[in-house]
Symmetry: C3
C-alpha cells in the first residue's frame, strides 16, 4: 500500500499559542485535524511548531509523530521522514476539516516524484509547495480566530453527525449531541439528546447513550445503556446498565451485565460481572466480585483522614442497606452484612456480620412529648 | 356524526419490517401516523401488514384495530369494517404526518358512495383507489429510509411544537423539547429545555416540567413541577413537586401535594397526599400514608437476597434520618423512628422506635492517634 | 456626564396585564427591556402602568424607578423626574431589544431642549413625542403576543450569545444555553451545553459552568466549576467545585476551594474554605468551619418534626461516613466522629465521638438460613 504522511505547520499568532491548540467544542482543533487526515489515509505526521507549543501539540497527534521546533537542527530528521513516504500532504496554514467540496488554500498533496524534487528545502516546510505533482487537497476550511468562535463548531458538529449516521449510529438530535473527533461509536447505537462523548472514548454496538450523558476517555462495550450519567477514564463491559444519575470516576472497570443505578458513585474500583449497585451507594477503592448485591445506602469508608484503603468483596456477597464497610476490610464470598451495620472487621465467607443496637419502643411517646413541650 | 375509518397498508422492504415500525424520535412512525389520522377524525383502523409485523404494529394502533395479514382469509372481516364507515382514508404507501399543505401520493379519502363501488376488491386494499368520490388527503409526506434519518424527525418535532403552542402550552425551547405523538399536555403548562415526554403520557394544566426531564407512560395531574427528573409508568396527582434529580420507577402512585425531592428513588409504591420525601431516600415496595415525613437517608429494605417485601407506614408518621425499615414491617400512624435506627419490628401508632448505640467520647483522641502513628 | 432617563409606558391588553410582564425565556420582557436601556446609558426610569401591574413591574426595574399609575395625581413627580434628566427615551409601545439596526415605532430619544418644550404635558407620557429634537431610537422590535411565542425568544437568546462572545465568554452551544438579561459572566468562562443562568446571577472569570446546569440568583466567584447541578440564591466563592448532580438551595455561602460533590444537597448553610462535602450528603441549617471533611452519607438532622435546629462544626473536623448529626449539636475543631454514629451530644475539640454497636459474626449463616427455609 502507498504510504501517506502529513506535514502540519502550526503557525503562531504572535505570542499566542497556535490556533490549532484552541478548543473546538471539547477538543483542540489539532485533534480534529489529525483525525481527518487519518481518514484521508495519513499514517505518519511531521509537525512543525513553536517550542512552547510542543507539549500541548504532542497530546493531539499520534505517539510516533515527529515534532520539529528548530528547523536547522532537525532538518535531517524531517528529511528522513519525508523519504519514507510515497505521498505527503502539506498543511502550511491553520485549517479545519469540513465538507468534501471545501478546498482551502494551504493544503496540497505532493506526489513521491515531486517530493524528491523538493527534498532538502527545509524552510519550505512552512511554505506551500508548488509545481508539477502538487495538487490541492479538498475537505478543509481556513481556521481563523473569528471562525473558531462562529462557524467552526457547527461545521465540526455537523460533520460528525454525518459520519455517525453513515456508520449506522442513530443520533436522535444532532444539534444537542457532541461527539469528539477521536471518538468511535458502533453500529446500532442510539445517542439520545444531550449526549457528550469526549476524548479517547469508544462506544460499542447497540448501546443506548443519553439523554444528558457525558463520557470522557472511556471504553464502553456493546449493549450498554448509560442514562443521564457521567463517566470518566473507565472501562465498561458488554450489557452493563448505568444510571440514571450515576457518576463513574476514573479507574473503574465495570464488568459484564453490571447494574450501576441511580445516585451511585464509583471510583477506582473493579466491579465483577453481574453485580448490582442499585442506588444511593458509594463504591471507592474497592475490588468487588461477581453477582454481589449492594443494598441501598452502602458506603465504602475508604478514607480515615490520613490514608486511603481498599475494600475487597467476594463473589455472591450481599451487602445490607446503609452498611459502612470500613476499609481495609474484606467481605468473604457469599457472606452477608446486616442492614445498618458498620463493618470494621473481616467477614468470613458464607457468614453474616451484624453490628446493630436492639430496637426498643416508647409507647405513646408522641403524646408524652407533646405534654413536655 | 359521519364515521371515518382508515386503511393503512404497512408495506415491507424485502425482509425488513415495515418502515412504519422504525422509530421517529422516541416512538414508531406508525404511532405518529395513527395519532395524525385520529386528529383528522378517524375512529377505526384496518391495518394490512406482514404476519411478522403484527405484534409490533398492534402496539401502535388503538385496541379495536383490525389487522389483516392474509388477504384471502380475512376478506370478510375487512369487508365488514369498510361497510361500517361512511368515509375511509386509504394509505397505500408509508407516509408521515407533516404540514397542512403537504400532499403525498398514496393518501386518499374515499366517500361512502365511491367506497361501495370499490367493495369486495380485497387486493385493492394495497392499491390506491381511483375514480369519482376519491380525493387526495393532505398533511402527509413520503416516509423513506433516507427521510427517516434526515428530515422526518425535525418535521415531527416542529409539528408537535406548533400543536402544543396552539393548545396553550409554553415550550421554552422547541429544539430541545421532544413530545411524543400520543402525549397530551394541558393549557398553561411550561416545558423547559431538555424535556422529553414519551409513550402514553398525559400532563395536566399549569405544570412546570424540566429542564432535562424524561417522562414515559405517566399520568401527571395539574400544578405539578418535575425538575431534572425521570418518571416511568406512574401516576402523579395535582400539586406534587418532584426533583431536582429524582427517579420514579414503574408502578408508583404519588398523591396530591407530595414532595419527592433530590436524590430520591421511588419504586412500586403508593405515597399518600402531603407526604414529604425530601432527599437521599429510597422508597420501594411501600404503602405510605398521608402527611408522612421521611428524614434524609431513609431506606426501605425491601430485599433480603431471596424475596421482596412491603413496608407499610401510617398517616402522620415521622421517619428519622438514615433509618432502615426492614420489610416486612409496619410503622403505625403518628409513630416516630429515631434517626439512625434499623427498624426490624413493627412500630405501634403514636410510639417512638429507637435502635441506637450510646454515644461515647474519647477526648484528645486526635493527639493520641498522632502519637501512635 | 449627560444624564439619561427613560419613560416606559406599560400598556395593558384590555383586562390582561401588560405584555411587558410576560416571560421571555426565564424573565419578564420588562427586565430584558430595562437591561437594554441601561446599556444605552439610561440611569433612571419612569414607568407608567396600571395600578394592578405595579407590584410585578417593580420587580423588573431598578429600585429608584418612579411608578405612575394615576396620571393626574402624580404629574408633579413625573415632572420632577423629567426635569432632572438631560435626555429622555420614550417608549410608548411594548418593545423588545433586538439588533442594532432594528428601529420599531414607539421608541424616541428626546433632547433636553425638546423635552422642556414638552414639559407638563402629562397625558403625552403615553404618546410618542414628535417634533424637533426628537429622534428615533434603534435596537428594538415590537412586542406582540404572537411575537412573544414565536420570534422573540430566539431574538433574546441570540442577542445574549453575541454579547457574551464579545465579553470573552465561550459559549459552546448557543442554542442550548439560556442566559437571562440581568446576568453577568466574566471573561474566560466557558458555558457548556444545557446551561441556564437566571435572575440576578453573576458568574466570575475563568469558570466552567455546565453541562445541564441551572443557576438562579447566585453570586459565583472566579475559577469555579459547576457541573450538572442546580444552585439558587446563594454565594459561591473562588475556586469552588460543585457537582456533578449537586443541589444548592437558598441561603448558602460556599467558601473558597470548597468541594460540593455528587448527590449533595446544601441548604441555608455556611461552608468554610477548603471544606470537602464529596458525596451523598445533606448539609442543612449548618455552620461549617474550614477544611472540614464530610464522609459519604452524612446527614445533618435539622428537623425533629416540630422545629429546625442548627449544626455547628469547627475547623478541621472529620465527620465519618453515614453519620447523623442531630441538631442542635456542635462538633468541635479537629474532632472526629466515627462512621455510622448518630451524634446527639456535643463533641469536644480534638475528640473522637463514637456511637456504634459491636460487630458480631454468625458463621456459616448462609447455609443455616438455607436449611431453615
Amino acid at each position: 500500500m502507498e504510504s501517506m504522511g502529513a506535514v502540519v505547520f502550526m503557525e503562531r499568532e504572535g505570542e499566542a499559542p497556535s490556533l490549532l491548540l484552541e478548543k473546538v467544542l471539547f477538543d483542540p482543533a489539532a485533534v480534529w485535524l489529525a483525525e481527518a487526515l487519518k481518514e484521508q489515509g495519513v499514517t505518519r505526521f511531521l509537525v512543525v511548531c513553536h517550542a512552547d507549543d510542543r507539549v500541548a501539540a504532542a497530546d493531539c497527534f499520534p505517539q510516533d509523530t515527529l515534532f520539529i521546533t528548530n528547523g536547522a537542527q532537525e532538518a535531517a530528521r524531517s528529511s528522513a521522514f519525508l523519504n519514507e513516504m510515497d505521498t505527503v500532504i502539506h498543511l502550511t496554514k491553520p485549517l479545519f476539516p469540513a465538507g468534501d467540496e471545501d478546498a482551502a488554500q494551504g493544503a496540497v498533496r505532493v506526489s513521491g516524484e515531486a517530493r524528491r524534487a523538493l527534498q532538502g528545502m527545509q524552510p519550505a516546510l512552512t511554505e506551500t509547495p508548488e509545481g508539477e505533482g502538487v495538487s490541492p487537497v479538498k475537505g478543509f476550511v481556513p481556521l481563523t480566530r473569528d471562525a473558531l468562535y462562529e462557524e467552526i463548531p457547527a461545521i465540526a458538529q455537523a460533520r460528525r453527525a454525518t459520519q455517525l449516521c453513515r456508520a449506522g449510529v442513530r443520533v436522535l438530535d444532532a444539534q444537542s449531541t457532541f461527539v469528539g473527533p477521536a471518538v468511535t461509536v458502533g453500529r446500532g447505537t442510539v445517542l439520545l439528546p444531550g449526549t457528550i462523548l469526549r476524548g479517547k472514548t469508544s462506544i460499542g454496538a447497540d448501546c443506548e447513550i443519553g439523554p444528558n450523558t457525558m463520557i470522557r476517555d472511556c471504553t464502553v462495550g456493546s449493549g450498554v445503556t448509560v442514562n443521564a450519567s457521567q463517566l470518566n477514564e473507565s472501562i465498561v463491559e458488554d450489557g452493563a446498565a448505568i444510571g440514571p444519575f450515576a457518576y463513574v470516576r476514573p479507574h473503574c472497570h465495570v464488568g459484564r451485565e453490571v447494574k450501576v443505578g441511580d445516585f451511585v458513585e464509583l471510583k477506582n474500583s473493579v466491579i465483577g460481572a453481574g453485580t448490582k449497585i442499585s442506588h444511593l451507594t458509594y463504591v471507592g477503592d474497592a475490588d468487588v466480585g461477581e453477582r454481589v448485591n449492594f443494598g441501598c445506602g452502602t458506603v465504602t469508608v475508604n478514607y480515615d483522614g490520613d490514608g486511603k484503603f481498599r475494600t475487597v468483596i467476594g463473589d455472591d456477597a450481599f451487602i445490607g442497606c446503609n452498611t459502612n464497610l470500613v476499609a481495609p476490610v474484606q467481605v468473604g464470598a457469599a457472606a452477608y452484612t446486616a442492614a445498618g451495620s458498620t463493618i470494621t472487621q473481616d467477614v468470613p465467607p458464607q457468614s453474616l456480620a451484624i453490628a446493630r443496637a436492639h430496637q426498643t419502643v416508647k409507647k405513646q411517646w408522641k403524646n408524652q412529648r407533646r405534654e413536655r413541650k
